[in-house]
Every structure is written in structure tokens, then in C-alpha cells.
Amino acid sequence: MPRSIVTRCVPVILAVFVLSSCAAMQQTYEENPKAVLGSLIGAGAGAGIAAAAGGGAGWMLGGAALGGLLGGVIGNQLDKRDKEMATQAANRAFENNKTGQTSVWNNPDTGNSGTITPTKTYQLKTGQYCRQYQQTITIAGQQHQAYGTACRQPDGTWKIQS
């Protein structure tokens, strides 16, 4: 088993407690790495999609946000520009939107679109701000919806928590 597969499997197991067979995943991973990582539920898996896709730090929010929504399904169906637009919309919404105020993105080239709406603001004991949100992504006319939480990092970026 290649070392890269091991290093990917172990953290994912610990993080999400969901894995029926690392060997089975390996085979699928070799066929479609983004789908495997994306199919592991949760934001961590979503961030993995972004990392696997070779995205930099700016991708992490978008990857995590999308992972929080539908993981591999969305990861496979959105193109690079879609993800960029979703990331930018999320950043704007988390940083600037009042609760209930929606940011929208729409890629005319693919026809895909989405919304993100902060639903609650709170602060951790550390002083760190977090915002719960509702997200939709529409692909080929079919809308997918999810909820999650993002927390503001010291560098001003937002990280998806769930």
C-alpha cells in the first residue's frame, strides 16, 4: 500500500469514525481520489477534496464548505470556477452578512449556483467568532441544502467546523 494512501486513511478514520474498509477505499481512491475523500462525510473530507485537487489555502474554505454540504457528490459536479465562486460567496457571507442575509453565486458557464446565509453568530471562550449557516447549491436544476458552522481564524479566514 503506498505511503500516501496510509497517510490519507489514518487521519480520516480518526476524524470521522467512518470507514468500513481502508483497502476498499484504496481501490476506489485510485480510481477516483476526489470521490473517495468527498464521500467521507463532514467538512474534513471536504477540505480533503480541496487538498487533493491541489488547491491552496484559499481553497480550504470552499472545499470544507462543499464537503459540509454533500462531499463527493458536489465535489465531482462543481468545476474550479464554481468552487471559487462558492468560496468567495461564503467568505463574504461569514464576514459581512447579517444573520438572515444571503450571499448568492451563479456561474453562467455551468449553470450552477448557490446561496449561503448566516443563521446565528456566537463567540467561543477564546474570543473566536463562529457563525452557523445554511447553504444551498443548485446543480442541473436540482437544489441541495445543508447546514454547518464556520469559525473565524486569526488570519481572517473562515474554517468550516461541521
Binding site: 447579517k98 446565528k120 453568530t121 463567540q123 473566536q128 473565524r152
Partner: protein
């Protein structure tokens, strides 16, 4: 008595203050609009939970540098910057969210003249108009 009157007014302003306005000096207030924004469930009353959520959001947008505290400068965005001393209960020169919540919850209690644990629009407007007359 004066303290109570002042507290009533503060609640009115708190409810009137929108996060967008909190990013700069507030110039105009519409208590009805602000009340509607705070009244998340639309039942015509502001309960403690709605008030708390409102307070946190106002605090978030007022905290320009996002360090988790309100400085004297950041507090000047509010209609009553002199409240800073009242809010800074530990005297560290900055306002934590806990201090800010405590300040505004005191205002809530003072504004709740019928003691039903919710604020009506009338109570908010009364507080707001009371300050305008001063």
C-alpha cells in the same frame, strides 16, 4: 429614576442599531425596523433569547478588528459611548462579550416595564422616544 430612564433608552437604541450601522457612527434610528430585525420568530415580542442573539451580532459587527473585545474607539460607534465605563466591570479598558451582554440584559430588565420577560414594540418605542426628549 434617571438611571432607569437612561436604561430604557439604551434598549431602544440597541434594538435600533443594526450591524451595518454599527460599522460607523449611527445617524438615524428606526426602532420599528430594528424591532422587526430582532424579532426573529415574528411574534411581535423580543424575548431574552432573541435579545441575546441580537446583542452578540451587534457586538460582532462593532468589533472592527475582530479581537473578541470592544475597545473605547470601537465602543464610540454606539449612541451612548459613555456606557463604556458602566460596561467595563473589571476595569481592563476593554469590553468583553460577557460584559456587553450583562450591560444590555440590565437594560432589557429596565425596559420591561410590565415584567413579562419580553419587550413589546411599545416598550422599545417608549424607551427610544424618552431619550429623544432629553
Amino acid at each position: 429614576m434617571r438611571l432607569i430612564a437612561t436604561s430604557l433608552v439604551i434598549v431602544g437604541f440597541l434594538l435600533a442599531l443594526t450591524p451595518a450601522q454599527a460599522q460607523g457612527p449611527a445617524k438615524t434610528y428606526d426602532p420599528r425596523t430594528a424591532f422587526a430585525e430582532a424579532d426573529k420568530n415574528g411574534d411581535g415580542e423580543i424575548d431574552h433569547e432573541e435579545m441575546y442573539e441580537r446583542i452578540v451580532e451587534v457586538f460582532y459587527f462593532a468589533d472592527a478588528n475582530k479581537d473578541g473585545y470592544l475597545s473605547v474607539e470601537e465602543f464610540k460607534q454606539f449612541p451612548f459611548p459613555d456606557d463604556f465605563k458602566r460596561a467595563d466591570t473589571n476595569g481592563d479598558g476593554r469590553i468583553s462579550l460577557r460584559e456587553y451582554v450583562r450591560l444590555r440584559e440590565q437594560d432589557f430588565e429596565a425596559a420591561d416595564t410590565d415584567h413579562d420577560e419580553v419587550l413589546s414594540l411599545d416598550e422599545v418605542i417608549t424607551a427610544y422616544e424618552g431619550k429623544k426628549k432629553k
